[in-house]
Symmetry: C2
């Protein structure tokens, strides 16, 4: 069948979510690797580190101190990429039409939050029990709700965060894990950047989803859930309400797309069982990742959902999902480099998504590998 | 003025070449760096390495031996990502309309060449004299010409390479340099991948350039050359025929766009003085890069030009240029990570392109830093 041929030949696959292509070269893992090896993650970390600016009670860079938090803890990043207050900027008008097109800029205001997932310095999402992951999802939801326009029925101010001074357009919730992903502190934490502009990636996805909805009168990701549930070739894990697949168009070797089965536009629309189902799925994915190469598996992970200031059309087009982008390819120390051809021509992957899914599916969702704590 | 305000505030800039945006956060370099450090490049390499599969006379992985080449040497990669011969594949027709849209694939045939830039194991482009760089450009041109359709006036079969068995659509010429860029062998070399499909990046660029041409009846990159030549804020180096700028929309901290001043669609259109001007520009850029952090500077570099099977419209839209994408941000060992927010939301940079251009422009184009050879 077609699937089997694609295991053996070079081909490209289409990503309908961002309207782009990826080159797949299944035979390419046969080449020997003589390049760089990643540093494996430090194997022993204390439960509390006096030098960590995220541990409870410790001092931070800008002088503040963390409270002795017990569950999650949110604060504004001391080195934020975007800020609430800055000098105004309006692009020069006049000038000639061509250079105004070629040198376009717009100001971006925003807030960057850091969210500590847990007081314990040496834990990761893969170590946390379900109630602790549920607390994280609830914290994400609280922050999202407090940044909605007050006219939105889900709007709810948050007790411990300052009232936003602008209406922001989008909130990107994400986690960088591991030194290979530029993460500078192993304390379990994520980030939330919210901006007055709708960033590139969610904007591309919304456009594709909205075009699909107009054409087929249905939701692209709902239809994708049905297709994957029927084919059963790329599923890593599923429960009643969530589906985790290595998507047809995955770029990273062990990339995962985690989709809500019911069509939900944003976090506040999740009911209690959907939240606990999401916690289970996150736990399953991160544990399988750690088990794959018996290492604390690096990745970037994030949530795509409806913009804060979504139009009716954007609300209809949105379908909440999480992307997991892990860099490792062959082992705990050999990663995939997206360089050269990938930067200049087209992303390229070395194993098929089906081969990656088989391996992740076969692994235990119970943590087998354990860092020496 | 506007330029000065943009030095201090977060903003996003538009990339008219690929129709996308980048977030710029100039104040962000103030944060302390506690993350991963790159391994600095090995400081002593021999002129000849008996274990290197690229050195003259040595054996390669698949059993062949390299000739005792004196200048450049081209061969087909022993672990090619695409191949000339493979099983045929045609997507299933029938099936339902939605899943055929969601699970699209097409076969890709092609050839991957490796091009050794020089017999000496321990040199890089920054070390080579102008005539040696001219030989490399001539080799690129020869390979490009031999893959054009025989009806193209620039077509010329190459004496030492096999006749292609398909008409290929695009030829991506590139170099990955340094372990930080996934390069597994320090021997000076580049790659050439040619495919039956037009890859994502050149396809996006051609679309933008063709749309611009229809709207303004002029070439986007010619107009960009004029704009940058007038503003003089982002120029790194120029000679009579070439302009090197940190583009307005650069993503990587010290990214460079190298443009031909006269509008040339592809390598065979370059005259003798354009080829030597290009060699000078490549030499200037790579030397300044090495001088910046006093290290052998890693990067991916590549050429965008007209597709091999270009339509008349695509030929008119094309304007030959080179992209240099280097990962380093602060020093020889601290790179920029494009992770988390960048993967999920929007590319983000920490210094402005103008600040990067000032530093690169001020550096010597004579090699000051030297690896101990
Ligand atoms: O072909 P190489 O140098 O072994 O491999 C390198 O360049 C390729 C093309 O940019 C990438 O696909 C690989 O991930 C990278 O490691
Ligand atoms: O904010 P951090 O964790 O210091 O920094 C890390 O994540 C950011 C957001 O993905 C990136 O822009 C940085 O390049 C990366 O090092």
């Amino acid at each position: 069948d077609a699937g089997k041929i694609l295991d053996d030949i070079s081909h490209r696959r289409f990503n309908p979510l961002r309207n782009s292509w990826v080159l797949v070269s299944p035979h390419r893992t046969k080449r020997p690797w003589q390049g760089q090896h990643e540093a494996p993650s430090k194997s022993t970390l204390p439960e509390y580190d006096a030098g960590c600016y995220l541990c409870p009670g410790n001092a931070r860079a800008a002088g503040d101190s963390n409270p002795k938090y017990q569950s999650t803890f949110v604060f504004v990043n001391d080195y934020s990429a975007v800020k609430e207050e800055q000098q105004d900027y309006t692009a020069e008008v006049g000038g000639d039409e061509k250079s105004s097109f070629l040198l376009q800029a717009e100001a971006v205001k925003g807030i960057c939050f850091v969210i500590c997932f847990n007081p314990k310095h040496n834990l990761t999402l893969a170590d946390l029990p379900s109630p602790s992951i549920i607390s994280i999802i609830q914290t994400w939801t609280t922050i999202y709700r407090s940044h909605l326009p007050p006219t939105n029925p889900h709007y709810l101010p948050a007790p411990n965060t300052p009232t936003p001074t602008s209406q922001y357009s989008y909130m990107q919730i994400f986690e960088n894990k591991g030194v290979a992903m530029g993460c500078s502190n192993p304390h379990p934490h994520g980030q939330i950047w919210t901006t007055t502009t709708l960033p590139e990636e969610p904007s591309l996805e919304l456009l594709s989803m909205s075009t699909y909805r107009k054409k087929h009168n249905s939701c692209l990701l709902c239809d994708y859930v049905s297709t994957e549930t029927e084919k059963r070739e790329r599923i890593v894990f599923e429960n009643a309400l969530w589906l985790a697949v290595v998507p047809w168009w995955a770029i990273w070797p062990f990339e995962i797309l985690l989709l809500s089965k019911p069509c939900k536009a944003c976090l506040p629309q999740l009911g209690e069982s959907e939240v606990s189902g999401l916690a289970e799925a996150i736990s399953q994915i991160t544990k399988r990742y750690d088990n794959l190469f018996e290492t604390s598996f690096p990745y970037s992970m994030g949530i795509h959902q409806a913009p804060l200031d979504a139009t009716e059309e954007q609300k209809l087009a949105s379908h909440l999902h999480l992307h997991f982008y892990p860099p490792l390819l062959r082992s705990a120390t050999v990663r995939k480099f997206l360089v050269g051809y990938e930067m200049l021509a087209e992303p390229q992957r070395d194993i098929t998504p089906e081969q990656a899914a088989v391996r992740l599916r076969a692994l235990s969702g119970v943590r087998c590998y354990r860092q020496a704590l």
